[in-house]
Subunit: 342 residues, 2 copies
């Protein structure tokens, strides 16, 4: 049975029937009950398309990806999209991805807002003062932010506790007896990078250890950067006996540079990596198994999709926000510092 | 100046002006010239949106991604999308990604074809007899296939020479003196996996070496599979002295299992990996540097986007197809077999 036929049976408009089935407040309780009973009786199940039309929606959410900006279309993005997809596919919601060759993101956001091609947007990789968030808030266009900003206007967001994660990892290394701890962080300006550095600095400062600027790197997450920067770290005097790696890709390069120097991971040099849980790269299967701060970016995607659905269902954005704690998982790549045998 | 104003100045319809500016054959040479001169005089430059409307296009291409099918939303996909984006962003063409929770791809294709939400589609991961290709061809809906099928109907496609790549890699290992060569290939059924296995089998058969079914694995491309299957290979009697890895992710796991056994890469056990050129995972920076069959999946994406634009511009699909040769790049992870010291 089609929506049209069900509406005819009931002597109601299709819009009213569809709204009743979806529990929208415009329809009074008695009508809702009558519609639901009839739907059950005639075996009608609303399809996503019909529901969408009734609600005046296009059934797509927008994501703008500046393709020449590092970090923005790599393994993190595909995992995050997989997580979004997991939830959005249930409601037959598509993604409209706008790739940007220039970095004029703001124009792209304005175009999408006025295009009526998407019902809402997802914004990733915020900086502390993020113009995109300001523009969307001003336009009162629904969006969920993956990450956080310092912007005060109400909006929906989900972030992980990056500061806590790196505070915890650094404190653990200090507990093990390390005094020289380096960090390969994400690019400057992004909130997550700034938060991670804060956590690292706070942990060192609390124990009265001064910050060595040579021990802090901000760059893309790649195997190559991990390798090159670790070679540089290990040429310093004194060199770090422990390294925090911002991603599993970075950690691969860090591990190789440690090994290439003839050191053992977890002995002469320890590593703790941040693990976004890529299904094709498993920390516990590494040799030695990798100590990580762990938070699934795919799970974050799924949750953000849920938040988006709540937002479209009328929940006010200021009630939708979450900070996820990050687990520190101890494995073999971290241990007490060992003086290298000469 | 807007398209509308330019059209008024010229006393022509907006559609005619737009088509003239884009060099479409419906507009005669004299009109085209007149329009171009006026555009120059009044400083009019067509924007992509106006061009699209005149051509009856929506400015988006569709991609269907079954999210529970392995291999379909991983690092290969994000690299491929980056390549597509590189070219499509120039024409302000977006992607509409339809994530599928069930595996009913055919219904999703039919929905997209009839939805008028996309101008064309891109189809990835074909099997030798691919129903999606059949459906799109029958509907005469524009698409470009990344890969190949055995379907005879004319359609546009780009593939790399997977068979040649694995034939070449296997032959090189045979030249070095290896007799026991294993292979971790992609999932059964995909054209690329079948072609790779053909190349491997042909090379062995030509030298009179019989195929050992224990030496062939079909699975997802992950570090974990590489590690686990290599442990199994190395427990066989005789064990392989060389392993072909279908991806760089697989190769990471293979390398670790070789090392965990106390063997050296390129000595007791050689590896040749297929490298899709992930920017965050560089074969020549590995220790030892990884011998690879190399073909950039990002470059393939960019080229496929170009093919799509040609297709939308009216070029017949049967003239649009390419097979890219794959380079074998010798580095330190492959060498003559060495008898393990006991």
């Amino acid at each position: 049975m089609k929506l049209k036929e069900l509406a005819e049976q009931l002597g109601l408009s299709q819009t009213t029937v569809s709204r009743a089935l979806n529990g929208y407040p415009e329809v009074n309780e008695a009508t809702r009950e009558r519609v639901n009973k009839a739907a059950l009786k005639f075996g009608y199940s609303a399809n996503a398309n019909a529901r969408r039309l009734a609600m005046g929606r296009v059934g797509a959410i927008g994501i703008v990806v500046p393709i020449h900006s590092s970090e923005r279309f790599g393994p993190h993005t595909s995992e995050f999209l997989s997580g979004l997809a997991e939830r959005l596919s249930r409601d037959e919601i598509d993604f409209l991805i706008t790739p940007l060759i220039n970095n004029d993101e703001i124009s792209a956001y304005r175009r999408l807002i006025s295009s009526k091609r998407v019902d809402a947007m997802i914004v990733s990789h915020p900086s502390l003062v993020d113009e995109r968030v300001a523009v969307l808030t001003e336009a009162q266009f629904p969006f969920v932010l993956h990450g956080r900003t310092n912007i005060d206007a109400p909006h929906a967001w989900l972030d992980i506790d990056n500061k806590g994660a790196f505070y915890q990892a650094t404190s653990h290394l200090l507990d093990l007896g390390h005094k020289h701890i380096a960090m390969i962080d994400g690019l400057k300006g992004f909130t997550f990078s700034e938060h991670r550095e804060e956590g690292y600095r706070d942990a060192l400062t609390e124990r009265g250890i001064s910050i060595d600027p040579h021990f802090i790197v901000h760059d893309c997450f790649s195997d190559e950067i991990g390798f090159r920067e670790t070679q540089r770290f290990l040429s310093l005097q004194p060199h770090p006996t422990a390294i925090l790696a911002g991603s599993m890709m970075t950690a691969l390069g860090v591990s190789r540079a440690i090994r290439a120097k003839g050191y053992q991971l977890g002995k002469e040099v320890s590593i703790i990596a941040h693990d976004d849980v890529f299904p094709y790269l498993n920390a516990s299967n590494m040799v030695p198994a990798m100590t990580t701060t762990r938070s699934s970016i795919r799970a974050a995607g799924t949750r953000i999709a849920e938040m988006l659905v709540r937002l479209l269902d009328g929940e006010p954005p200021e009630t939708i926000h979450e900070v996820w704690p990050v687990e520190l998982i101890l494995r073999q790549s971290s241990g007490p510092p060992v003086i290298p045998a000469k």
